[in-house]
């Protein structure tokens, strides 16, 4: 058994522990350790992806306990993609933080590494309770990262965020308790086997349990009735943290996708659990995000509302859970995550160069370093507003064609296109407020090495995903086919042997 699947989790964990043990040492040392761990972790996810690219599903049994009794990490194409994406957003975010925000409080790097470990773990695990544990790791790190830098607004939105997520964790545990109590297993592949044979008396309980679980994932993904926390929280965080948070909503979305495809299948207990209310909520979330974009007074708030829109867009594709929709989703997801992350970074760099005005959208002298920041903004905005020719447009086109069916199609096209129009309007208005002003511009400031590189990395992603659209879309399609085939996943985890003998409850 290769130990590769655990490395993306283990490397940041060990580095974080090391940094905590060493305590107060010089900032360059912390930065070096953190960045070294990030690069090592990224290399390990690349190795995982090349392994998964052959179509193999590697299973890592922790402590060598066999599934379904032990906990397993499962690396298929989807998990490998998401693990890569975690590092792809975390490295620029960390580079941005080396610009100085990492010195606003203690232990920034350790917390950052813990969050990355939690995120990778949540994408790689094949066990529901282990998923809960990784959720808690990433949440606890995010609680502390959010209030990093201090200030009343961060503390206040931190309170709301922590309380909301604690309630979410409690609900997660309720779901886990019911699922274990009725199905006797928490392993995703095992659930796929047990679920079709639930005795009639337990049907309602099982259905309730999965509905609660779906609600928890939707809370993390910020879907409409549970979405109002996100703009406040994300825009209050420091830009580097906001960029890293851009991937947190995706944890909920991908977990729901995996559970609904692998776990639910066509089992009677969960038949039609997500339809028709999930598409409705997803569309409403897109609408809310669009209204939020119009109402935003700061660039960071626009970025936060764009996270809402992308959540809604992706969840609409999850709701229908068919192959083409999932393939489109997997192409669009990296783009939207990295582009919103880029906008968070940009809002930070912008705020540093507009003096008192910060990143607020008010008339004033235009920003310093106009060519670089303006150019970056233009590329990001084209991607975010899904205008041709960049990857945002391609992704949305695939989603428009792939997701929804029948009557849904009309509403889906209408909502997505109108929302795109709204985002275009707001972003061009912001551009004229920020960059096209007659007064003498603010003085330019040199970019630090870290923040400059971070911005470049996130800006070139859009063009890169466009030029490499064919291989990336091919990868997404292969990942979607592998996920929807279900059987390879289940047999990789549980083996092909006869069904495991287990005790039956009276």
């Amino acid at each position: 058994m290769s130990h590769l699947p655990i490395l993306p989790i283990l490397i940041p964990f060990v580095a974080a522990a090391l940094l905590l043990l060493l305590g107060r040492t010089a900032a360059p040392f912390h930065r070096t350790v953190a960045m070294g761990a990030m690069l090592l972790g990224a290399a390990s996810t690349l190795a995982l992806a090349s392994e998964a690219g052959t179509g193999a599903i590697s299973v890592y049994a922790l402590g060598n306990w066999r599934a379904p009794f032990g906990i397993v990490l499962v690396v298929d194409r989807l998990a490998a993609t998401m693990a890569m994406l975690v590092y792809a957003i975390a490295i620029p975010a960390l580079l941005m933080a080396t610009g100085g925000t990492d010195r606003l409080g203690r232990h920034f790097h350790a917390l950052f590494l813990l969050q990355v470990a939690g995120l990778s773990g949540a994408f790689l695990t094949g066990d529901l309770f282990n998923l809960f544990v990784f959720f808690e790791i990433l949440l606890l790190a995010s609680y502390a990262l959010l209030v990093h830098g201090g200030g009343a607004q961060r503390a206040q939105s931190g309170m709301a965020y922590v309380i909301l997520n604690l309630v979410g964790s409690t609900l997660f545990l309720v779901a886990v308790a019911f699922i274990y109590g009725t199905l006797g297993t928490l392993n995703m592949a095992d659930i796929a086997i047990v679920l079709p044979n639930v005795p009639a008396g337990d049907l309602a309980l099982v259905r309730t349990a999965f509905a609660i679980l779906a609600a928890v994932f939707l809370l993390k993904a910020a879907v409409l009735p549970m979405a109002f926390w996100l703009p406040h929280v994300y825009s209050a965080a420091t830009p580097a943290v906001g960029a890293l948070f851009a991937i947190m909503t995706k944890v909920g979305i991908v977990s729901l996708l995996r559970l609904s495809v692998i776990g639910f299948g066509t089992a009677k207990a969960t038949q039609g659990l997500l339809l028709p209310w999930l598409p409705v909520l997803a569309l409403a979330t897109i609408a809310l995000g669009t209204v939020g974009v119009f109402a935003a007074k700061r660039l960071a708030t626009i970025a936060a509302n764009l996270v809402l829109i992308s959540s809604g867009t992706l969840l609409f594709a999850v709701a229908f859970a068919d192959g083409t929709a999932t393939a489109a989703l997997l192409y669009y997801l990296p783009h939207t995550t990295l582009a919103t992350g880029g906008l968070f970074l940009l809002s930070g760099l912008l705020a540093e160069r507009r003096g008192e005005l910060g990143d607020r959208l008010v008339r004033g002298p235009s920003v310093g370093n106009r060519a670089m920041i303006g150019g970056a903004f233009a590329v990001l905005a084209v991607g975010l507003a899904a205008l041709p020719p960049l990857s945002g447009f391609l992704g949305k086109l695939m989603l428009l064609q792939g997701a929804g069916s029948g009557a849904w199609k009309t509403i889906w096209w209408g909502t997505l296109l109108l929302s795109g129009l709204g985002v275009t309007l707001v972003l061009s208005r912001s551009a004229s407020l920020l960059f096209w002003q007659p007064e003498t511009p603010f003085p330019s400031r040199p970019f630090g090495f870290g923040p400059g590189l971070a911005l470049v990395l996130l800006v070139v992603v859009g063009p890169a995903l466009t030029i490499g659209a064919a291989p990336v879309a091919g990868w997404a399609r292969a990942a979607s086919e592998q996920l929807h085939a279900r059987d390879p996943y289940v047999s990789a985890v549980l083996g092909d042997g006869p069904d495991t003998e287990r005790e039956r409850r009276p």
Binding site: G100, T101, L104, G105, F129, V133, E136, L140, Y143, A144, V147, G149, G150, G151, A152, Q153, R154, A155, Q156, S157, G158, M159, A160, V162, I163, L166, V167, S169, T170, L173, V174, V176, A177, F178, Y180, G181, H232, A236, T238, P239, K297, R298, G348, A351, E352, G355, E356, G358, D359, R360, R445, E503, R505
Partner: protein
């Protein structure tokens, strides 16, 4: 027995939910603690209600209690404890920073969250980025 336990867990949850919905941080913390108790009981009893059955296969034991919920509940207790401790610390810090222990954002210097926020943000993300303490 099942009915009694189910009812008591339900009662704990009801109290917890009521307290979580209160506007001040102290009652919210109490409510979350109650919810954590309720959910711990729920997980623990997810393995079935039984008496005098060991969780290990000891010589002479006739049955075997499900050991997994006990492992799960231990993890859940530890995580819940850590989270609650963090929440209490954060609540104290919020009280220090804003002078209010309300969790709904009302009553902070008589202003809403948004108006209040932009002020702080300017101070926070200034060129030096030094946060006010």
């Amino acid at each position: 027995m099942e009915i009694l336990i189910a009812l008591s867990i339900g009662l704990i949850f009801a109290c917890g939910i009521y307290l979580v919905l209160r506007p001040r941080s102290f009652s919210v913390v109490l409510g979350l603690t109650l919810l954590a108790y309720g959910v711990n009981l729920l997980i623990f009893l997810g393995g079935g209600i039984d008496r005098v059955v060991p969780p290990l296969s000891l010589p002479g034991a006739t049955g075997l209690a499900d050991p997994l919920p006990q492992a799960l509940v231990l993890t859940a207790i530890v995580i819940g404890f850590g989270m609650t401790a963090y929440l209490v610390a954060l609540a104290l810090r919020t009280l220090g920073e804003t002078g209010s222990d309300r969790v709904d954002g009302a009553g902070v210097d008589g202003a809403g969250l948004e108006a209040d926020g932009s002020e702080d943000d300017r101070a926070d993300s200034g060129p030096d980025g030094e946060a006010p303490r």
